[in-house]
Assembly symmetry: C2
Homo-oligomer: 335 residues x 2
């Protein structure tokens, strides 16, 4: 049961089908056949229509495919038509797919599709985007790995969502011994402002933000010189911010409902909490772009591709979340 | 249900009653009235016999008290007697207790009791010791806070146990930016050897030890220059060691049964995992002393002291674990 009040106007959610050699297209198609997706958003797949048809066949499912090839068609097509809408500019043919194996042609195509999703969203033709599993190896071979949206301190942030636990990260893939030097009052303050504004737009009013400390029991130089002044300044601006809170208890407090999200200081601080708590159906959201961009926590699962047995629960949640956030209706209650 | 096979000779477990102004004596007495404690060990309380009697009265429980005042009496007393054995050298009178409030007299007494527990264990009169909640404030006021056994890198280690998750910490209360400089091949190698030997003595044969990385995805300089060489050297010595493993997945793998314990590189790495996973009945063990020393994860709970409502499940587990490890029977299966 999903508790998403549906908007009058359904948000258009662009779903990049992921690397076609992996399970991405399969979990995407399984998801959009779910009634609750149809109720709450208008999904538009971004990828190869040939691949989509092949996966439909593999799954024994039937649907009419409506192909869009230019942005202009978004305003011409009849969205009330039954079937599946696919934006496909012909980057990839089915014969280029090597199920269960990385290849640079697929990598290049996924890079282009990610770019297209971003452009369509920035043109206002999509309200949110979702990324199915890509292959970092294939994209690197094709020289397009930079197309994957990466968190940049001060500009964009990785938000992991796992049941009631939501964790934004101040810093991402940084050697741990360098994190101390990155924690500054201006960065923490700016991040809190971005988190506050983004959550408001998404429908979480006056979000209760907990700031994790950096040191054991949140007691150290980084706290006294940088984090505490940033929290005090944010509170004076009216933000509902608490902290710094001992890193070993703040995530449990969020799970118990005392906060809407935790701002973690470094990658593993948040990732250890999320992956150890292990609620099901995890997804990630990138905070920073002017639209919600979600992705799943799993990979291409080459070992089970083409068998129709891939679990699509994470993809389902990632799409439901993108739709709900784009509609300004907050985080969906999933179970 | 507890699955501890009982030794022929029951281990003698010394239980320091904790700060008498807190819930320590209450959870200790509730625990030793449990049948499974009586079956598997001979508990000896260390603390004030007047306090013990007062808590028995408060709980409406009755037991004969056998008071030992010198180490020599351990070899003279009839352990087959029914009742509760208390080692009390007269450090504290009931009138010195201020329920729910810190006081230096209680702090001083708890310091002395901790020393006595350690001495009795080193004399071979106790097989294990357990520490009930102390008050850091009261002990600091009395100038005896150093009596609490603290992990010292290279000598002693904090092991947190939470359901199937067991985490030893290479470093403890160290500013996070200083941890990188402490991670060295010799320290990791020595620690792995101590963990291996200790677990063997405790009854976990060929323990499967997972070493957590330090950086995101266990990829960085600390891994390549210090941790990996230490793991390889340990493997060559025959230890069953894996790693370094990505810090955000290694704890989940331990919970899922792939390892007997994880060696965490820093305080919060382990503490976040343990406190977020939140199995019930957590306890801590200090690795290093020549006997098992366990303690509970909660504090003196001044707000509920004297009411008889304190939950003793953590204390029960701490005592059962001390008994089981001292008997060389491994970690008890608790639930």
């Amino acid at each position: 049961m999903v508790n998403i009040p549906c908007s009058v106007k359904k948000p258009r959610v662009g779903i990049m089908i992921g690397d076609p050699s992996g399970i991405g297209p399969e979990v995407v198609i399984k998801s959009i056949f779910e009634e609750r997706i149809k109720k709450c958003c208008q999904p538009i797949l971004i990828g190869s229509v040939e691949v989509v048809q092949a996966v439909l066949d593999m799954l024994g499912k039937h649907a009419q495919l409506h192909v869009l090839t230019t942005p202009e068609q978004f305003n011409q097509i009849n969205w009330d038509n039954e079937g599946i809408f696919v934006f496909d500019t012909g980057e990839l043919a089915l014969k280029d797919v090597t199920l269960g194996k990385d290849n640079a042609v697929c990598g290049k195509a996924t890079g282009i599709w990610l770019d297209q999703a971003d452009q369509l969203a920035r043109m206002g033709l999509l309200d949110a985007t979702v990324m199915a599993p890509i292959s970092g190896v294939a994209m690197e071979e094709a020289g397009v790995l930079d197309r994957v949206v990466q968190p940049i301190p001060g500009q964009s942030y990785l938000l992991l969502v796992s049941g009631p636990l939501r964790v934004a990260h101040l810093t991402d893939h940084v050697p741990l011994r360098e994190v101390s030097g990155l924690i500054s009052r201006p960065l923490v303050e700016k991040t809190l402002e971005i988190l506050q504004q983004t959550f408001e737009v998404w429908g979480v009013k006056q979000p209760r933000i907990a700031v994790a400390g950096f040191n054991p029991h949140a007691k150290g130089q980084e706290e006294s010189e940088e984090i505490i002044p940033a929290v005090l300044a944010s509170q004076q601006k009216g933000l509902n911010v608490s902290g710094p809170i001992s890193p070993d208890t703040v995530f449990r407090h969020c799970i118990d409902g005392y906060y809407d999200l935790v701002l973690a200081m470094y990658h593993d601080q948040g990732h250890i909490a999320v992956k150890t708590a292990a609620f099901s159906g995890n997804y990630a959201v990138i905070i920073g772009p002017p639209y919600p961009h979600t992705s799943v926590a799993h990979g291409t699962a080459y070992d089970i591709v083409g068998k129709g047995i891939a679990d699509h629960s994470m993809m389902l949640n990632a799409i439901l979340a993108a739709a709900s956030l784009a509609a300004g209706e907050g985080f969906p209650q999933l179970n």
